[in-house]
């Protein structure tokens, strides 16, 4: 789960990391009052879970109350890379002597945390990694040993603070302390990413975390009972998640339900290759019980109109017969009248087919293999889309 800048900074402050005085505001009026308290110069920053806020105009330095109100009004109305701006953070402005980059993330390659530092901060770090890979210092952290002192020294050396820079040797000491505290926070909070970009040296010689980007591991919430996972914005996702299903809303018109993450992803790909567009990713896992199938169907229909649904099940241990029984019950209970294409294969598939044939539901079509199932559901959605006069029939993809 990604945290907003101000949420990350609250963790920073609690861990002893240097942050600037700041107040969260949700209206221009509140922002102005915050600025009066923090001023005279403040920075008004969009709180949205995305990078590139500065480039998008979501961060503005203001010198007067009027400027703060205008900036807040503008920023609160923004959507940055598809993310609504929920609030602004009004922060005391500082004069920057130098911008640095410091982050810790999980490296899949070395299977451990990785500390990344650059003396060039305030830039897109992925872009910098491509343009000038030698500008990045990378140090894998042994999770059983923690961040070692020589690694901290490596960072301070790489920063190469000059004798004529503000702060003198104090800047190096400040940076070393930030490294140690950031590692401790990463570990203690079960983070998978902590990033300070930029980490700045002020003209006053202080090291300050000007931004925060923190991602915490949802699998570790059992260790952090204080962290409240936020409810998803999408109604379908909220419904599915309440039933314990993995669900990702997409923007097409074909509902997709299957068992297993890989199988569902693959089904969505094949729908796209046939020229259709999936409305969701819904993984029912074992999913034999009718409550699970019902929850999946209800979630699929809880959002924008769905032209048709594809249920793609490969029974490994799960018996297709049980899934079929669950589906028949669920289609009745959820009151589904849209076309449903069902593909069952593997364990007890024949028995599953028999259950569906016996139920004789008018809106259910049985497909005998996954490729046929995909072709069928795409054809149905196209017909329904054309009949309803929606844009579904001109969905991009072609013969893919």
């Amino acid at each position: 789960m990604d945290l907003l800048e101000h949420q990350g900074k609250a963790l920073f402050a609690a861990a002893g990391l240097p942050v600037l005085p700041a107040i969260v505001a949700t209206t221009p009026e509140k922002a102005r009052r915050a600025a009066e308290h923090l001023g005279p110069r403040v920075c008004v920053k969009a709180q949205a879970k995305t990078g590139g806020r500065g480039k998008a105009g979501g961060i503005r330095v203001c010198g007067t109350a009027a400027e703060v109100e205008t900036a807040t009004t503008d920023i609160l109305a923004m959507t940055i890379h598809g993310h609504d701006v929920e609030a602004v953070l009004v922060e005391r402005a500082v004069d920057i002597a130098r911008e640095l980059y410091l982050g810790i993330t999980v490296s899949r390659e070395v299977r451990s945390p990785l500390l990344v530092f650059s003396r060039e901060g305030g830039v897109d770090i992925e872009e910098l990694a491509k343009r000038a890979p030698q500008a990045l210092l990378r140090r894998p952290i042994d999770p059983l040993l923690g961040l070692l002192e020589y690694q901290v020294r490596d960072v301070v050396d790489a920063a190469a603070f000059g004798p004529d820079e503000p702060g003198g040797t104090g800047a190096g000491k400040g940076l070393a302390a930030v490294c140690r505290m950031l590692w401790k926070l990463y570990r203690d909070q079960d983070a998978t990413l902590v990033e300070v970009n930029p980490l700045v040296l002020t003209t006053g010689g202080e090291i300050v975390c000007l931004d925060s980007k923190v991602t915490v591991d949802e699998n570790a919430f059992f260790r952090h009972p204080d962290v409240k996972p936020e409810p998803p914005q999408d109604a379908r996702e909220a419904k599915a998640r309440a039933a314990g299903l993995a669900f990702v809303p997409l923007d097409g018109d074909i509902g997709v339900i299957g068992n297993g993450a890989g199988l569902v992803m693959s089904t969505i790909d094949q729908i796209a290759a046939e020229g259709g567009r999936a409305a969701d990713f819904c993984d029912i896992g074992g999913g034999a019980r009718s409550e699970v199938a019902q929850a999946a169907l209800e979630a699929t229909f809880a959002g924008p109109p769905v032209a048709a649904v594809l249920v793609n099940i490969f029974g490994g241990i799960t018996r297709c017969e049980d899934v079929a029984k669950g589906l028949v019950e669920a289609i009745g209970a959820a009151g589904v009248d849209a076309p449903v294409v069902v593909r069952l294969d593997g364990n007890a598939a024949e028995e599953g087919h028999a259950v569906l044939r016996a139920a004789d539901l008018p809106n259910v079509t049985l497909a005998l293999d996954p490729d046929e199932a995909v072709r069928l559901v795409v054809a149905i959605s196209r017909e329904r889309g054309a009949a309803a006069g929606t844009a579904a029939d001109v969905a991009p993809g072609g013969e893919g």
Binding site: V106, P143, F314, D371
Partner: protein, 294 residues
Amino acid sequence: MAILIDNATRVLVQGVTGREGAFHTRRMLASGTNVVAGVTPGHGGKTVQDVPVFDSVHEAVAHIAADVSVLFVPAPRARDALFEAADAGIKLIVCITEGIPVRDMAEVMAHLPRRGAKLIGPNCPGLITPARCSAGIMPSEIFMPGAAGVVSRSGTLTYEVVHELTQAGIGQSTAVGMGGDAVHGIGFIECLELFEADRETEGVALIGEIGGDDEERAAAFIRERMTKPVVAYVAGHSAPPGRRMGHAGAIVEGSAGTAATKQAALEAAGIPVAGSPSELARLLGEAIKRRRAT
């Protein structure tokens, strides 16, 4: 021969008295696997399907030799159980458990090499050498002994492909489900290396998905080191960036880890990439046939 496990393999089950543990112990036994012991702290002295249960892995291996441990321990206690298995001298640990924190897995991966132990998983279906040994939860009914090696990040896609292979009369040497987490044990390269050295395996199906760069590194390895044919499939071409698609490791971060870049890397290494799981099974069948003809 096969890889990693065969009929001589002696399997221990951690979390054997739990619902999942007991259920799959029964299935492993039914498929002919030599399950020799189970462990659940506080349940020593019981039996599950006539398999003796011990309080600790150390105690179990003091009584009965075991080579492989299969874990069904709940996520909050999985880290400790993994350390315990490695410290008791188990050399191959298979972790079925889903939802283990990344921090715990990083710690486990730092410790296991010190004990010479290897890990498969977590969040995986385990592995199977058909008709000889099943260490995990794969449905043995759809498998058939033969020449195809399978290594995969996805359980159900493995079943799809194996089902197609079996229906086409192509049996499998060993199938390994390496799991869907970002930090995991044995990966594509280790399995490919073993399949290359294995006399029974004549070709390998690699099933990848979005996230990380396991497929890209596998592509480089295949180009440089594999003489046996490898065919591949990558799921997640239509996945939106930044969203976790069911598996913790299946997430496209920035421009990295997309299905398109993985497919391109595999194709650049001369590896045929299928458009669907059924096509993957077909491609592997053809590749094995071609190899036999030459």
